[in-house]
Amino acid sequence: MNGGLGNLRLEAVGAMRSALVSAENLQLSLKSDLSSEEQALTNNHTSGNEEKPKRGNEDLKEMLESNKESLKLEAMKRVVGLIANGKNASELFPAVVKNVASKNIELKKLVYVYLVRYAEEQQDLALLSISTFQRALKDPNQLIRASALRVLSSIRVPIIVPIMMLAIKEAATDLSPYVRKTAAHAIQKLYSLDPDQKEHLIEVIEKLLKDKSTLVAGSVVMAFEEVCPDRIDLIHKNYRKLCNLLVDVEEWGQVVIIHMLTRYARTQFISPWREDAIFDENSEKTFYDSEEERRVDQSKPYIMDPDHRLLLRNTKPLLQSRNTAVVMAVCQLYWHLAPKHEISIITKSLVRLLRSHREVQYVVLQNIATMSIQRKGMFEPFMKSFYVRSTDATHIKTLKLEILTNLANEANISTILREFQTYVKSQDKAFAAATIQAIGRCATNISEVTDTCLNGLVLLLSNRDETVVAESVVVIKKLLQTQPSQHSDIIKHMAKLFDNITVPMARASILWLMGEYCEHVPKIAPDVLRKMAKSFTSEEDIVKLQTVNLAAKLYLTNSKQTKLLTQYILNLGKYDQNYDIRDRTRFIRQLIVPNEKSGALSKYARRILMAPKPAPVLQSAFKDRDRYQLGTLSHTLNSQATGYLELSDWPAAAPDQSVRNVEVVEPVKESGAPSLGKSKAGKSKEKFYSDEEEEEEEEDEESNSEDSSSSSSEESESGSESEENSEVSNKSSSSQSEKSSSESDSDKKKKTQKNKKIQQQKPDSKNRKQKNGNAGKSESRSESESGSGSSSSESSSDSGSESGSELESDSDSGTDQKKNTKSKPVQSKPVVKVEKKEVSLLDLDDFAPTPVTTPKSSILSPSLLSDLQGLSISPTSALQASSPVFVPETSYELLHRMTGKGLSGQYRFTRQPCIYDSSMVSLQLTLSNSSEQPLENIHISQKSSCAQNIHCFNAVERLEPQASVTVSIGVNFNDSTQAANFQLCTKEDEFSVSIQPAVGELLLPVSMSEADFTREQGKLLGMNESSATITMSPENISSQSVSRKVVSVANLGVISSTQENIHRFAGKTVSSSSLVLVSVTLKDPDAQITVNTEKSVMGSMLLRQLKTALGNSAT
């Protein structure tokens, strides 16, 4: 056998040498370790010898070295069995590690399991496997890449730290999100192996935090929490993204992200409760209830940061999660971050969790106990859910009891006490004792029931169970301390019971009561003392101490009767076995018995012993638990756990909000607000971002003025508005003043645009003054003219925004009319379409959807394109948004004039990126008044609680009869075709309306090269692909008509194609920016339509619509 081992050793050394060579190629110098390795091998050898008797492992070794896969697999399965049982299988290491490169995937996985388990103990041998993993890291199969990284990073061998670092960096940029997720996990492993790598790891974390994949988000936040929880600055830019992704992240990631965001929010937002706390000095009641009122009279009302609101809004749906940890995480987030009046929405969910497993109940009840101390009202309606069942585990019962006690108030105390009565009789005596304590607490907290409780407790004194009686005595003692004089009969009663009570604590309590209130029971007390003197020696220590106390107190008040007894007891105490009692006796003797040696103290004996003592406060054990963040391990244990991150207090002043702004490429510049207006340079823009109302106000002003001469400064205003997202630092003055010296890309762009707009605007406004009539049409024309006049790069960016500027002029004309009380209704959407010269030559009545020529995106001058790309920070910068190819002018009815009492509304999709928020779909509403009276104050109700996030238009103050006005809104449909429901209000009425988006309107066109398209399509196969074959109607065969049909159905960009029979279209979803790729392959007479997108539901809906549009049935 020794020979066998020797062979093995030779083999292993040989294999190791070759591995070393490969390791060296990877710039790892292991030379110095060579000798130590050999040594290790010899050690291994000897240890193997020592364990010779273990013959079982020998045949495993043989099996592992055989040539048969099945034998090896069988052997590995047995090895894994050994590991699972905690048996040592480390001497098989050399035999096992050779199989690391096996083709059999199951065998390989089992080898991985073994490696990870023993690599730490056999570091040198483990190095043999490294090159295999490095090869696997380059494997085309993402599962293999990922598992190689997983194992590589799990091998806790310090020497491979550089290899791991390299692998992590590479994997962090892998195309597969699954591999990137693994990389995020590997970060933590490497960090725990070598904390010195922190700086490098933070770089990787920073990169991964920007990742848009929901798969990665949870894991990277976990890594962030472990490696650098203090680097809150890394979160700023990703904050909004994380909030928006949250719902789609897998459940475990949600928990981690929510906890992290809770901490983040506490450092970045000002307290939604702050004012209340400061201005309110008295009771808790007002603290919670009258918040609304107080808000009103505060001079500077609190305004919640929109990002703060975003977090609260996006976490709320997760209360419905099936995962209890997620629900709890959201609850603690609301508890720590939400305004007081909003917290109560978590109650139901918490109560629901109580139906879950015992362990879940335990944790949830603990958290409820903490909450219920501060906010009784939250849980009071659910009081009955905390009723105890006889089948509950003891710790659950006690927690429920705790909560019931916390919830007790004057109104419900009788119900609770009745319930408690049942519990007192419980067979579970520990629980019965806890109930008695709870009754005691209720009695002290609610003075109305103190007497009832006391009487009840006295009745319990005759209970046969000792623990119950003892607990009652202790509680009664505490209660009596509050008002002893009225209860001398109770004390007498207890004295009578004294003989029957054997529990030391209870006996001691009675003795203490006698002593303390001996003046109320002057006859009985000496008698009790007499009995005690008799049984002194057989009592427990605690009882003896109280006997001594009682004796001393009686000696002071009633020395005539008790002098002898006292001396007797003091003598007994003097020779007691327990030193505490001896000490106490000595002390008492010196204190009360006057003799020549006694010092000054004895004069004060009476004052010392009979001093009035404060009544004990009975309070909840959960009183101060809220110093720990709810839902954490520390909270559960009520002590700080390792790695607990303190939740900071709210900052006094709000930190800079702009740090969270993310630069988003907005190639299409336009301002949704009417662009004429007087200069408002005086306006502070500080609040610009946080305060929508103010923004609206500004827009108002703009739209109200017609001073074209100042349009230039106005221009910059609107420019900065559309750049909300990209303008991070130039908050105020720079973006406003024309002379801003900052020459950032965006500024430059803005300026060119501005200049151009000035040119454009002037004729525009002239025009307008001349003809008020069919304003829409003429304006659009004048605009397109001036547009074509300007330089090419300008016009390109302009042409991107045609319909946007249209929108501008539209709404202008609307306001114009309103002002002039023009009674001419604007014709339905003068829509424009007309952007290019050729098109504008068309007949006016040829406004039918014209497929605007595809190469539109190519108009973007290369330089501008690259500018835009430079601005983008998103990793998927390849997604270059482009302008819509086609804007349909169909409008849909929003509100019929009959139902709207004269107010009618229509909406249409502008197919432009929304200026309010990049994840919103922008819509245009036309509101007309067909009644006889003017309508006032038309607006969207702010309080409407619709699922979607809507950016409302600013209220239309007055709409004259027969007039109409056009406004634009943005709706975040969250990439679903669910209708957006909201309330359209006038001064008198409210109308519920809804907007139903077609799936094609939830997209934005994207321009990309054909090659990019094919590559992206390759990534979206399988479930992400849906396709169908249809028979094309003959008139649709031409490539132009195919494009036209497709773009009329969906807002997609056309990809120039080299193959004639394949048409490609690309777009991205508005909310989540997922790619949507459509290709139509013509095979006369059939056509295959393929839709590739991550949003498979949208994909299939889109496919269906395309089928109808292109199919035979279509015109």
Binding site: R352, H357, T632, T636, S1100
Partner: protein
């Protein structure tokens, strides 16, 4: 996060250990054994135990303790929820989660645990994904594998892992397309001595068994969705649609899953289907007691109440019971002190002769009589009825062409239904 996992059976044998980070000696479990000792009943073991260097978070399920070792701060529910998910996965794979099955399938268990956690952080917990990575054992496959040498382990990344709907696998195909929904409601109630309801609420779940090909998009609507005031959903359900339209719209996972659970709280009136009249008394003298229980149907909406079982945990001093049941059978186990009366069906017509259990109990002589009467736990079942009145309106399918077979079943059961005496 989760550092190690130990599985311990209820007699205290540690039969499996798995470490995701460095190895922690199993001696850490001594702290757990200590707490176990102190608790007496396995149910009373505190779920979170602190030791000098670690924290032990454990769950007790199917007579197995899942003890996880934690080193740093982590939301305890995170761990608890995960451990339960592990137990559910075992159950899903092996039919039951017991010591024997786990030991028999040790390798698969190990492979599963390896996939479920990476460095202590959950990686794949969706059963559909796991099943593509590691195929569940069955006899046929084991035979095929031994012959062909193929393995149980998938070679490619399950597509679900990457998509936004990780719960569904791609390329599902069935010859019979069917979707079944079970609306199961449990009544949690506490009745007091006189039969009045102290507390009652309904916990409902909708379990689904969906075997549909392709990528179906289902919409389930109710006749009376307003009943549901608190719901929680499987991640596949589109919450927004529920909020706005009160319909449940989802792309289902393949196979069995729990679509939603709901809670109809104590504020609403809950119909109690049975009426229990009981009288249990113990006498000071003669160390005996008397028991008399009658169960009759109450608000059953015309359905038959089945599988009625009354369980009583008797006080320790009760030695034996000699009773007479007019219907069903009774059994008293003097060891566990549990009296079980299996009544069976309650006949709604025969109102005169209601099932009754009557007789005497003999107590340990000399011991004081128990002061509290034991409470009654009632179990029952009503087929074809959701006691809350919830009704499924219709199920629509989009996205696929075939016509699925659809079915809905209603069952009402007693949950934690207790009668105090």
């Amino acid at each position: 996060m989760i550092h190690s996992l130990f599985l311990i059976n209820n007699v205290g044998d540690l039969f499996l250990e798995k470490h995701w980070k460095s190895v922690i000696s199993r001696s850490v479990c001594d702290y757990f054994f200590e707490a176990r000792e102190k608790a007496g009943e396995p149910d009373n073991v505190p779920p979170v135990i602190r030791t000098p260097h670690h924290y032990l978070i454990n769950i007790y399920r199917d007579k197995i303790f899942f003890v996880s070792v934690i080193q740093t701060e982590v939301p305890p529910l995170f761990v608890i929820e995960f451990l339960h998910r592990v137990a559910e996965t075992f159950q899903d794979y092996f039919g039951e989660c017991s010591e024997t099955t786990i030991k028999e399938n040790m390798v698969i268990v190990y492979e599963l645990l390896e996939e479920m956690l990476d460095n202590g952080f959950p990686l794949a917990t969706e059963s559909n994904i796991l099943k593509e990575l590691i195929r569940p054992p069955n006899i046929l496959r084991t035979m095929v594998n031994t012959i062909t040498g193929s393995s149980n382990v998938g070679e490619t990344l399950p597509t679900g892992q990457l998509s936004t709907i990780p719960w569904r696998r791609a390329g599902v195909k069935y010859t019979n397309n069917e979707a079944y929904f079970d609306v199961v409601e449990e009544i949690d109630a506490i009745l007091d001595k006189s039969g009045t309801t102290v507390f009652a609420e309904i916990q409902g779940v909708i379990d689904a068994c969906v075997k549909l090909s392709g990528m179906p998009d289902l919409t389930l609507s109710f006749m009376n969705p307003r009943l549901l005031d608190d719901v929680s959903f499987h991640p596949c359900v589109r919450y927004k649609r529920w909020e706005s339209e009160r319909v449940i719209s989802f792309i289902p996972p393949d196979g069995n899953f729990q679509l939603m659970s709901y809670h109809i709280s104590a504020q609403n009136l809950v119909a109690i289907p049975v009426y229990v009249k009981q009288n249990i008394s113990f006498f000071e003298s003669g160390s005996s007691g008397r028991l008399d229980i009658t169960v009759s149907p109450k608000q059953t909406m015309g359905k038959v109440v089945e599988c009625v079982v009354v369980t009583i945990h008797m006080p320790k001093v009760v030695l034996s019971a000699s009773l007479n049941a007019t219907q069903g059978t009774y059994k008293y186990d003097p060891l566990t002190k549990i009296l079980v009366w299996d009544i069976g069906k309650l006949n709604p017509q025969n109102t005169q002769k209601q099932p009754n259990l009557k007789g005497s109990l003999s107590l340990q002589s000399g011991a004081p009589k128990p002061e509290e009467n034991p409470s009654l736990n009632i179990d029952l079942k009503i087929q074809q009825l959701a006691i809350s009145g919830l009704k499924v309106n219709r199920l629509d399918m989009y996205g696929e062409k075939y016509k699925p077979f659809k079915g809905v079943k209603y069952v009402t059961k007693a949950g934690k239904f207790q009668v105090r005496t």
